[in-house]
């Protein structure tokens, strides 16, 4: 069922046979190191002598004034070299110690006030980690409790406020007008308006409404966050677990008031991230501690602490969809509320980017989306695979599924009829390209045998099927750069700031460069992000790297190809146009002259080991949202389109859901490496399965109650569906490298709504609150009867 589209050949490229990487199921170049564990992650680097280990004392109050901090007992313990409070840092750094990608609302240690249970209040530095942690427990803090804002309802009631005043940081130009706004917990609002929804709903013949809830969850990348910072010759240097080295460099430079050249952020491969190791995590604190104490400071988070660094947004969506007598979609209204916790983090961007797709990928006559980002006294929520879109997908797919049923239509075919096609304009105003929803939907439904008869129940078990699509825009605008060194021996070194966190970016970037240069990708080494050496890249996130950094890599390889051909042209005194680069070097198209790359580079520089360097940039652009309608002709550089279909069996005694077959499809434009694409699709689908069935952070009066892996639920081997089918759809993007786009998030978007639709099909109950725990299923079954 794969809709394979032949990639558009680059105009100047000769057909490359054999291929040099693109399209190959190539294993990761460092596979052996990953399997035997010899690949070193950040925390695997040993601590050098003299390192001060950090133990963090954390708030026990959700919302309170700090009256006093007694550090006497901690300071007196053997091995303790210092105790630092927020006030200590503020004395040196002032307001610059408060950071954040959207709002400057995140103090690296609380000053005057705490805003969630678990907020960092003070740090003990000690000669070993155990002492640091033990001493941190000896710190005593006196609080005066303030009225807490526990949830969305509290936040909107407007009686207590998490922040006294909104203070946008400099990253989002569209937030500047909020500076100085007081007495609100709403830190951002995005509005999308198309047509007249009130009139359309009123005139419609069929209307369906649903209030959905997707709970906060945690990423739980198994590698724990770890940051070491030190000062070297007046420069702040750092080794850290981050997806955003370029952002961290800027944040640290701003915080310490240093030129960018005096901040160095280095990385190792990440042991998973999914959004958890982004923006301001341990890095501002580590930098502030190293800078103010002059010590080499290492912060290692425990699993319990990692739960306090960031979460996925819990979100409520109040949605309504209407159809006319012909079954056309005439109106969608959507009131989206993201609980962003104590710090906005990137919540405002999530609110906007999710708001723009909240109506769903359908031809709809009118829409009205109001998407808001709300502060509460909980752990800050930030990016998590899908960037807020799974939450709105659960809403729009619940609505369309229920509408289809209300109209007596098949949920698959009803969606198929209304899905956006190539060239259509989405409700946000942007034209669709390379987003083949129909092939994704056809693929997953065919895989599970949608039209085959559902097995009859046996009195206890009942069976059902469900389907859903997913729709997301890639983060735009963003910037990617690449630098390529061709070594005299014909190998190459690629410098990019993309962080390989399991997606295999190092492998596919080498495949892209290798394809252009007719060079085996295994001869291309990708340098790990090091801001002293690798150039600026916005972030490794939002499934943007294959397209954006991939394009920068394609461009830098093309520049290298042209440069090498230029060398040969000069050498032979012939026009460059008659020369070609192939697997054996540069050749004259019309005679038998040819020269290998080692010979060519040696001939040019007369030195073994010489390098040839090229550098290129790829920047995507957008058109900002219209102030009144939130619409724009270019909301995004490209779209992600995906679908999932599932056959389930529900145990009506226990409420437990079993999965005989789950199929997931994503339009990836072009699969650079099909194995890695399938891993992204299935990995995202299984993460989505957890979110659908059991994965949830539980709070009690603002305190997390299941923040340990003994209690927090992650999909295990035993939770994998009996059959799991990934389907690659390739509708090439006209500007993607070899037609490619990203895929990291596509698979997670439609999973939960596909499951809830299958429960609806099996049992006749529509559950709009995630996760679909057995108890919740049973409650709905009892309510039905």
């Amino acid at each position: 069922m794969t809709d394979t589209v032949v990639p558009t050949p680059l105009p100047e490229a000769r057909p490359a046979e054999p291929r040099h990487g693109v399209g190959d199921r190539r294993t990761r170049f460092d596979a052996l190191g990953r399997v035997r564990g010899t690949l070193r992650y950040t925390g695997d680097e040993g601590a050098v002598p003299g390192t001060a280990f950090a133990g963090v004392h954390r708030s026990t109050a959700p919302h309170a004034r700090i009256l006093s901090i007694d550090t006497t007992a901690a300071s007196g313990m053997d091995g303790v070299v210092g105790v630092v409070t927020g006030a200590d840092l503020a004395a040196v750094l002032g307001d610059r110690m408060v950071t954040g990608p959207a709002f400057a609302d995140q103090p690296c240690l609380a000053v005057d006030k705490v805003r969630f249970v678990g907020e960092a209040v003070a740090v003990v530095l000690a000669t070993d980690l155990a002492t640091a942690r033990a001493a941190a427990d000896e710190i005593a803090v006196e609080y005066a409790e303030l009225p807490p804002v526990y949830d969305i309802d509290d936040a909107l009631r407007g009686e207590a406020f998490v922040h006294d005043e909104l203070r946008p940081s400099s990253v989002f130009a569209d937030l500047a007008h909020l500076r100085g706004v007081r007495d609100t917990n709403v830190c951002y609002e995005y509005r999308q308006v198309l047509g007249d929804t009130a009139a359309e709903h009123a005139a419609a013949t069929t209307t369906v409404s649903a209030t959905t809830w997707t709970p906060p969850t945690q990423h739980v990348s198994i590698e724990l966050p770890s940051t070491t910072a030190w000062v070297d010759s007046g420069r702040l240097e750092m080794l850290t677990t981050t997806q955003t080295p370029s952002y961290v460099r800027q944040t640290v430079a701003t915080m310490l008031d240093l030129p960018l050249s005096r901040v160095r952020i280095t990385t190792r491969p990440l042991g998973g991230s999914f959004g958890t190791k982004m923006y301001d995590r341990l890095e501002p604190l580590a930098a502030a501690l190293a800078w103010t104490t002059g010590r080499r400071v290492r912060i290692d988070a425990t699993r319990e602490e990692a739960f306090l660094l960031t979460t996925r947004h819990g979100a409520q969506v109040i949605g309504t969809i209407s159809a006319d007598s012909g079954g056309e979609l005439v109106a969608v209204s959507s009131d989206v509320r993201y609980d962003t916790g104590a710090f906005a983090d990137v919540g405002p961007r999530i609110t906007a980017k999710s708001g723009l797709v909240a109506p769903g990928p359908y031809r709809i006559r009118s829409v009205d989306v109001r998407s808001r980002c709300l502060y509460t006294n909980k752990v800050s929520a930030g990016p998590f695979r899908g960037f807020g879109v799974p939450q709105v997908t659960f809403s729009h797919e619940t609505l369309i599924d229920e509408l289809a049923r209300a109209l007596g239509e098949d949920p698959y075919r009803f969606r198929r009829r209304h899905l956006l096609r190539e060239g259509d304009v989405a409700t946000v105003g942007t034209r669709m390209h390379s987003a083949d929803f129909v092939s994704c939907l056809d693929g997953v439904t065919a895989a599970i045998g949608w039209d085959e008869e559902t097995p009859p129940g046996d009195g206890r078990w009942v069976h059902g099927k469900g389907v859903a699509v997913g729709f997301k825009a890639v983060l735009t605008p963003t910037v990617a750069n690449a630098t390529l060194n061709l070594n005299q021996d014909g190998s190459a070194t690629l410098l990019i700031s993309t962080v390989d966190m399991g997606q295999g970016s190092d492998t596919i970037m080498a495949q892209i460069a290798g394809e252009v240069l007719s060079l085996d990708s295994r001869r291309i080494h990708v340098v790990r992000a090091d801001t002293d050496a690798t150039p600026y890249d916005t972030i490794t996130a939002g499934s943007r790297s294959t397209y954006h950094t991939g394009n920068a890599v394609r461009l830098v390889a093309e520049a290298m190809r042209d440069k090498l051909i230029g060398f040969a042209a000069e050498l032979w005194d012939v026009p460059a146009g008659v020369l070609v680069l192939d697997a054996d070097g540069v050749a004259h198209a019309d005679d038998d002259r040819r020269i290998s790359l080692p010979e060519l580079v040696h001939a040019r520089f007369g030195a073994a080991g010489a390098t040839v360097t090229t550098a290129e940039n790829f920047t995507s652009r957008w058109v900002p949202y219209d102030h009144d309608t939130g619409r724009t002709e270019k909301a995004t550089e490209h779209w992600f389109a995906g679908a999932a279909a599932v056959r389930i069996a529900v145990d009506t005694w226990t409420g437990r859901i079993r999965t005989p077959h789950l199929a997931v499809a994503g339009d990836v434009g072009r699969a650079i490496n099909p194995t890695l694409v399938e891993q992204q699709l299935t990995g995202a689908a299984l993460m989505g399965l957890g979110h659908a069935l059991f994965d949830e952070l539980v709070h009690d009066h603002g305190q997390l109650t299941n923040a340990t892996l003994l209690d927090y639920q992650l999909p295990s081997f035993a939770d994998v569906p009996e059959r799991l089918t990934p389907i690659i759809v390739e509708s090439a993007h006209r500007d993607g490298p070899f037609g490619a786009k990203g895929v990291g998030e596509t698979g997670i978007l439609p999973i939960a709504p596909a499951y809830s639709a299958a429960v609806r099909d099996a049992c006749g109950v529509r559950i709009t609150t995630l996760p679909l725990t057995p108890e919740r299923v049973v409650e709905h079954l009892e309510d039905r009867s």
Binding site: R25, T27, R28, A31, L32, G33, R34, V35, R36, G37, T38, L39, R40, Y41, G43, D44, G46, H219, V220, S221, I222, E223, L224, P269, L270, G271, G272, S273, F274, T302, R303, M501, G502, Q503, G504, T675, L676, Q679, T682, G683, A685, L686, M687, T708, L709, L710, L714, P715, S716, F717, A718, V720, L724
Partner: protein, 152 residues
Amino acid sequence: MTEVVLHVNGHPNRVAVDDTTLLLDALRRRVGVTSAREGCGVGACGACTVLAGGRSVSACLVRATRYDGVELTTADGLAEDDPVVSAFVECDAMQCGYCIPGFVLMSTELLRENPDPTDEEIIEHLAGNICRCATYPDILRAVRLAARRHPG
């Protein structure tokens, strides 16, 4: 402090540890083995798996002094052509790879006890290890492949 000899992958390492030092910390900080890693600290994820006398152990749950003189195997001690290692590589059974050494050792233990496991037996034995990237389908293929090749 107590001196113990940790026999890791056939090599004795005389190291000084406290009597409450966890085996994981002793291996990482004293011996320098970093293929066993902390993921949860409570024995629930399997990233710290080592084999002690051939049996799988969560190194984050046990004291190093208990393993004085015991033959320990960590994933980096397995040969490149080890049937389990090569099967994982060939199946690209990894994403971020952080947890994979634990899966490799659990698979090694399983195949030693049960050279021809069913899928259900593989899943049962590996279900206490978490791969958050959810590479489970590829890991299952790798263990099946290793079983086919296993000398046992």
